[in-house]
């Protein structure tokens, strides 16, 4: 390694900035646009972790990621207002997920209500539009519906359970490049 290169490297980290410990950061640093490379790096890392986990743990990978997501959901939602109604809980959930996921309750044309009862089970269809998981999978060329999707499942189930106190389950109905249809089964 030449001295010139080392000096150049050191130079890149030298600034005139005065940093005081009591400073409260009020701005994101660096600017969001400059974070693109970081975001892509994170997506790549996440994708590789999931791919390796799948290779080593096989189908057990889904259980691991689901569990991780569920814990995360419980942890985050514990600070939110507890509610009995599922509609209210979903509203809380959409606030909770803002920035990472956006979703809406959805029903086919022939259904009257968003809360559907069919074959002895009660469920609500959720259409996920913006999803950081889908973006990560597409960044890495991975299939949708695998272990990384299970983290989102766990997250939603954990949060719904925490807010309503009721058991819930989320199933994939369909995955697409622009949106995914999921079924929130209430127990």
């Amino acid at each position: 390694m030449t001295a010139g290169y080392v000096d150049e490297m050191h130079e890149a980290f030298q600034t005139d900035l005065v940093y005081r410990s009591e400073d409260v950061p009020l701005e994101c640093s660096p600017k969001p646009k400059d974070l693109e490379q970081t975001l892509h790096g994170l997506m790549k890392l996440n994708g590789l972790v999931i791919r390796s986990l799948e290779e080593i743990a096989g189908r057990g990978a889904n259980a691991v990621t689901y569990r991780a997501g569920k814990k995360f959901g419980h942890e985050v939602a514990q600070y939110f207002q507890k509610r009995d109604d599922v509609e209210g809980a979903l509203h809380e959930l959409s606030d909770l997920l803002r920035g990472q996921y956006s979703f809406e309750v959805w029903k086919p044309e022939d259904k009257d209500s968003y809360i559907i009862e069919e074959n002895g089970e009660t469920f609500i269809y959720l259409v996920f539009h913006d999803c950081i998981v889908r973006q990560t999978l597409r960044r890495n060329g991975l299939d949708q519906g695998g272990p990384l999707c299970q983290t989102l499942f766990g997250y939603v189930v954990g949060a719904i359970e925490e807010i309503t106190g009721r058991k819930a389950k989320l199933e994939i109905v369909h995955t697409g490049p622009n949106a995914c249809l999921k079924k929130l089964v209430l127990k």
Binding site: V127, H129, Q135, H174, P177
Partner: protein, 80 residues
């Protein structure tokens, strides 16, 4: 939601009919027709699967696509 199928481009393969979970499309005279457009949730699987790129959706919410590598796309644009 408004779905337009380019009848001249459609090859009648029926992939959109098979793939759509909400049975939005039907094959009529070997051409795909959007018979239940209001049942469309905008997943755009049909766009991805259509070999003729014959579909067009209007009034759709386009999800954020931060995964696109702009630097790579800029380089590709120069080459193509």
């Amino acid at each position: 939601m408004e779905i337009h199928v380019d009848k001249d481009a459609c090859v009648g393969c029926g992939l959109c009919v098979k793939d759509c979970p909400m049975h939005v499309y039907e094959l009529q005279n070997n051409v795909s027709v959007a018979v239940r457009p209001n049942n469309c949730m905008g997943c755009l699987s049909c766009h991805e699967i259509c070999p003729a790129q014959a579909l067009e959706h209007r009034g759709i919410y386009a999800a954020k696509r931060h995964y696109i590598d702009i630097h790579v796309c800029e380089m590709l644009k120069k080459v193509i």
